[in-house]
Amino acid sequence: MKNVLEFSYLIPLFPLIGFLITGLGRKYLSRPLTGIIGSGVILISFLLSVWIFFQVKEGNSGVVSYFNFISAGSLKIPFSFQIDALSSLFLLIITGVGFLIHVYSASYMHHESKEHFARYFSYLNLFVFSMLLLVMGGNFVILFIGWEGVGLCSYLLIGYWFKNTEYNYAARKAFVMNRIGDLAFLIAIFMIIAKVGSVNFGDVFSAEGLQKLAPSATIITLLLFVGATGKSAQIPLYTWLPDAMAGPTPVSALIHAATMVTAGIYMIARSNLLYSLSETTQNIVAYIGLATALLAATIALKQNDIKKVLAYSTVSQLGYMFLALGVGAYTAAIFHVMTHAFFKALLFLGSGSVIHAMSGEQDIRNMGGLSKKLKITFFTFLIGCLAITGIPPFSGFFSKDAILLAAFEHDERGKILILYSISLFTALLTTYYMFRLLFITFTGKFRGTQEQEHHLHESPALMTIPLIVLAVLAAIGGFIGIPEVFVKGGDRLTPFLSKVIATNHEPVSRSTEFFLMGLSGVLVVATIIFTWFRFKNYQPKEDKGFGKVLENKWYVDELYDKIIVNPLNKLAGFLNNFFERFIIDGIVNGVGRAVNYSSRQLRLLQSGQVGSYVLLMVLSILLLLLYQFFIKK
């Protein structure tokens, strides 16, 4: 009897169906109906994912392939799905969080007209579909299809309010930056094909596959990593993510926090065996991750747009994950992906609820004291903050601690604590800006306009329920990975992923581990208290000096414009206005003119005088005779 995993194609199928229904029927479906269909299909695939998850848990994992996607010459690319621990875990996150956010959106977007409402849901479903393709894909090509698919959906959703030109530019920026990464990814795929002759994970990560790849492992992994930096917003390609906040808030929660941006981590984790072949790449990954984490955190310190803060915090957290990947703690990275999905989704949805309450206002300087009116939102947001700052026993604590620990171990091998210390510092920065956000938004007194004030209200249940669910998850989600130091066998994640991910770190002594936890815990709490005193009664004021630099994001966008965009633009202008017109076309037309001119001259030979005719004839006879008799030999 054939493997039940055969049916895993249903998981992406349902979102696709949802996309088609809501997309094509957008004129005819009422808003509630659209919401039900849109969320329903996700729910179904969530349930299926759960089922698959348990299948995998019982050790029933493998590759199911359906048909030949491309088969030419020696190259065969099947359309196949890889169902194993890694993908099934991601399936849960995507469909689970995805479902909650769909539900949330149904209420958040209710003021849109029904066509656009349906358009929104169809995009969202399409996104889930592509994301599922991405994580289920049984080879690099299918993965890449999903990879670009999610890019497309993020493009569509960022530009969802297409009347606004700013948003459109943001969308384009996101897509193009992703494309840059994708190009590197593609080249990596070509190299893999050239070396191994196949793109199936099974062949590539098999012993002989790896052995074939070993010589060029560094370049391949680096190219893959560049792809990842595009998708997961790392230096140097991170600038699109903050702009992506142009999209509706649930979108930011789902795509630009919980799922899509973690595709890079997934991809690298998926090819961890390959990465383990190249020390260099791993270091580069680690340091890029760390740098991104730090940079984003510093920028986040000074942002006043509630979503921008969260966006930069996302970038920073992603940096953490790459750090983990870099130091070889793949499990920790995955763990953090999961917890981050919970609390960052929670935070975004919370902010969405705030924005909703403030009727579209996003600048925290005009908020304050919202805790009285928006109780649920406030509490859930608080949990989110605690989780992200890693206060035990919230989920963030476990995952972040795992990463810090891994960094520490890595440093111990390198005998200097640079990775650890900086990441710890970043953790404190995180704490600082998150609580700054919390305090400025929810404490103190209201700074907004009058009608905003009496319009203030808690969001409807459809929005709060997801908040609560996520809050719970954010609170307890960490318990699947309790460090061994607390409970023997508390870490259920590592063994579960062990089939896919080689664990290669020898544990440090218990005492050290306790000490590190203690240290970070104390520092974090201290930071919180410091922040409280700083912002308990906050008054907006103009930043200057270094603060201004941070507020302007280190002027990175301007820099990119200066060194890349503008020169390219000028070059294109030159080519179009000068080179094409006067050189390329000029030569062609020049030939024509030359013929015309020579014609005008040559016809003067036809002087009309018999005398000159005869003379010319005699002369040419003369020359020809000379040639024949005296020159030609």
């Binding site: 016809r603 009309g608 005088q609 005699v618």
Partner: protein, 109 residues
């Protein structure tokens, strides 16, 4: 008589004719120079015919006579040409009262 003398003389006459064509403007004179060229040809033809006769009289009694006959035909043609040519020149003269070929410049370029 050595044949190349004949060759040189008739070539000389021929080229004098050409020079005449080149240097004069009076259509009639030019025409006369052309006649001169023809006569140079005739002379050479006759010389050649006699040369060939001398060479091949043994095998063929009438060897070389065709050269002289050709001269005869050239004269025939020349006569015909003259009649037509002078007619044209006269017609021209009727119209523009000149036989100067430099006035023939309506057609050019």
């Amino acid at each position: 008589m050595q044949i190349d003398y004949y060759i040189y003389i008739s070539l000389a006459l021929f080229c004098i004719g050409i020079v005449g064509v080149l240097t004069r403007r009076n259509a009639i004179i030019i025409f006369m120079c052309i006649e001169l060229m023809l006569n140079a040809v005739n002379l050479l033809l006759v010389a050649f015919s006699k040369m060939h006769h001398l060479k091949n009289a043994a095998v063929n009694a009438s060897a070389g006579s065709d050269g002289q006959l050709f001269v005869f035909f050239i004269m025939v043609v020349a006569a015909a040409e003259v009649s037509v040519g002078l007619a044209i020149i006269v017609m021209m003269y009727r119209n523009i009262h000149s036989v100067d070929i430099n006035f023939l410049n309506r057609l050019k370029h």
